[in-house]
């Protein structure tokens, strides 16, 4: 009798283990599968896709999203969210661009990064100390910071003439390889190591999984949560610099607009759960490339660019659906009913 019960319990356990493995597999490789499908599709359909310039363009257009999405991965892994990143980019960028002629490149970039860190510190502190939901908090900041950014330059576009600063984004190594390639590789490796090999990365995962358990096991949850937002603030400021260096001017109304949506979509496509948990850096990297690749595909095939918005929507839904938690299907026929025997 007892053996029977145990046997069925084991069977259930085995099935749920399988389901867990399946969902882990989908989380780990879901983004990669979607990316592979997109690449194969492009190889067959898109004329002139097999060209080194396609790859370089893809990397150039992905860099700013990638920088923001790295920080966003950690924020989402702690079950938080930040929709003010686009406005943070605009404010730090316009401040950097305004100071550039007066203070020189290094100092003005440092001030921009410090400002970004300050905004992150504000968000983190208000979330932790006042228990305000990050979604509404950053909504308020998204509105306020964008408006402050426009006040800084009186809603005018600031032109950038500093050669060194522009070189941040428009330099080519050996004449062909864009400097962004280095950024993408270095940033991806650094944050992969932070996420998987450091105490900070593990703490973030623990906080996302269960904040009270993390606190009880001696992790400084408050400090780490604030750190996560500070990190995102700094990265947003960096992305702002890279973005305006590429366009060679800074329009506070358009810098970083829609960035929050792209970054969050990339993180979620990459398999990081919005309920918190493991920060999946490599997934996010692929997620960023998927988003850029959709636009590239549409442009290279001569389809009106509005279609890329529709495709983006469909692919985001598809990618997240592949990874969503499916109900464990336990087939009745496989397991003998336990309930009747327990009595």
């Amino acid at each position: 009798m007892e053996n029977d019960v145990n046997a069925s319990l084991l069977q259930i356990q085995e099935l749920s283990n399988k389901a867990l493995k399946r969902s882990e597999f989908a989380k780990k490789y879901g983004a990669l599968i979607v990316f592979a499908i997109l690449i194969i599709f492009n190889l067959i359909v898109t004329p002139g896709f097999v060209d080194s310039s396609t790859v370089w363009n893809l990397i150039i257009h992905t860099t700013t999203t990638l920088v923001v999405a790295m920080g966003m991965t950690f924020v989402i892994a702690t079950a938080g969210i930040d929709i003010s990143v686009g406005s943070t980019m605009a404010l730090t960028a316009v401040v950097t661009a305004t100071l550039l002629p007066m203070l020189g490149m290094a100092v003005s970039i440092m001030i921009g990064l410090a400002l970004g860190a300050g905004i992150g510190l504000l968000i983190g502190t208000l979330t932790v100390k006042f228990k305000i939901q990050p979604m509404v908090l950053t909504l308020a900041l998204m509105i306020a910071l964008r408006s402050i950014a426009r006040m800084v330059s009186n809603a005018k576009t600031v032109n950038i003439a500093d050669e060194g600063f522009i070189g941040l984004s428009v330099n080519y190594i050996g004449g062909t390889v864009p400097v962004q390639l280095i950024y993408v590789v270095v940033i991806a490796i650094v944050f992969y190591i932070i996420a998987t090999r450091t105490v900070f990365g593990k703490s973030v995962e623990a906080i996302g999984n269960n904040p009270s358990a993390a606190r009880l096991s001696g992790i400084k949850a408050d400090k780490n949560t604030i750190m996560v937002y500070v990190l995102l603030g700094i990265l947003s400021a960096l992305a702002g610099c890279l973005a305006i260096a590429r366009t060679m001017n800074c329009n506070p109304s358009s810098v970083g607009s829609g960035m929050e949506m792209d970054a969050i979509a990339a993180v979620v496509i990459g398999g990081t759960s919005m309920m918190g948990g493991k920060p999946r850096i490599l997934g996010t990297v692929i997620g960023c490339f998927i988003i850029t690749l959709i636009t590239t595909t549409v442009n290279m095939n001569g389809i009106p660019s509005e279609w890329s918005m529709v495709f983006k929507a469909a692919i985001i839904i598809l990618a997240v659906y592949i990874q969503s938690e499916k109900k464990i299907k336990v087939r009745q026929s496989k397991i003998k009913p336990i309930a009747s025997k327990e009595v």
């Binding site: 308020a140 979509a265 919005m274 509005e306």
Partner: protein, 332 residues
């Protein structure tokens, strides 16, 4: 003592209404061009669109979800009015088709959230971009579709009752969109308080597991909430189409944030399960009034301040809310 407690209770329960009244009084004293019949009726006319969308969003947020697609659906409804106008210039048909289209998108949101189990933030984010893309494709890059149907503009510009102003001209008092909004809120309050669906929304948002155990159909409740949000966006879209006499998709850019901000100003928690639908209307009025006051006094305050003031006001209210919450918990 008893009375002081109840007075305090009334104020904390209706903090948004108190704030709205305070802003009206302060603005009325500070700016003499604020407290006129024309201006007040204009504020209501403007607030009605955000307010109507906030009704649907309130229910979605009560269930613990969020609707980021409101702005796009709003614009798309206006575009649908323009499309139907081209071959059937009948206000009733135009409105009906616009509402049905938005209801369809709302249902699609609900389907993805409930059946495909994708987080609402992602579903509605994708819908926001998808619907806007569709609208841009239909209007060939964001052109305005003209609307010529007779009587259609009355939906937005019509008024009930009139007074003679100081220049001897007759001006309307109560704009039709405001009536639509108020009727909408009355229905919404009744639905949220006295119907199974309304109560289920609170239960699902408060504790989903408990709601399942109580036998509430969580999926059905969530689906209906998103459907309702779609319908509300449709109605608001008709008003903007009538107001601008044209269907343009970009008219709704950024509106989703205004809508969410009004619901949040109304004290509804984004974690779901707590809040009053009616307070969203005061939230919508506050947001509209800030813009209105700045517009009226553009020689004193630069229009650039609008976002800063709205954002900082939101922040202050959020901090105050969290203080009140922690006081309540401390008292227990």
């Amino acid at each position: 003592m008893d009375r002081s407690i109840s007075a305090k209770h009334v104020i904390t329960q209706n903090a948004t209404l108190v704030a709205a009244v305070a802003i009206i009084i302060a603005a009325g004293i500070a700016f003499d061009n604020f407290f006129t019949v024309v201006n007040l009726s204009n504020i209501f006319r403007q607030a009605s669109m955000i307010g109507i969308m906030a009704i649907g969003s309130s229910f979605v947020i009560l269930t613990g979800g969020i609707d980021l697609s409101a702005g796009s659906l709003f614009g798309f409804a206006a575009v649908m009015c323009g499309i139907v106008d081209a071959f059937c210039p009948n206000p009733f048909v135009m409105g009906l088709i616009a509402i049905l289209t938005c209801a369809g998108f709302g249902a699609l949101n609900g389907f993805c959230v409930t059946k495909l189990r994708i987080p609402p933030f992602i579903v509605t984010l994708a819908m926001m971009s998808g619907v806007q893309g569709l609208g841009l494709i239909i209007t060939e890059g964001g052109n305005t579709l003209p609307i010529t149907a007779e009587g259609f503009t009355n939906i937005a510009t019509g008024t009930i009752g009139s007074v003679i102003n100081d220049k001897g001209l007759e001006v309307g008092v109560v704009p039709v969109p405001a009536i639509i909004m108020i009727v909408g809120f009355v229905i919404a309050v009744i639905v949220s308080k006295y119907t199974t669906f309304g109560r289920n929304c609170y239960a699902v948002g408060g504790n989903e597991d408990a709601a399942i155990m109580k036998g509430i159909s969580v999926n059905r409740t969530k689906f209906l909430a998103y459907l309702m949000s779609g319908i509300c966006c449709g109605i608001a879209g008709i008003i903007v189409a009538a107001r601008t006499r044209g269907g343009q998709i970009t008219v709704g850019d950024g509106y989703e944030m205004d809508v969410i901000a009004s619901v949040v100003l109304g004290g509804t928690l984004l974690s779901g399960g707590q809040g009053k639908v009616l307070n969203s209307m005061w939230g919508a009025l506050i947001i509209t009034m800030i813009g209105n006051i700045i517009n009226l006094n553009s020689d004193v305050i630069s229009y650039l301040w609008e976002g800063t003031i709205t954002g900082i006001l939101l922040l202050v209210i959020l901090v105050a809310q969290s203080k009140m919450q922690s006081n309540k918990l401390g008292a227990r």
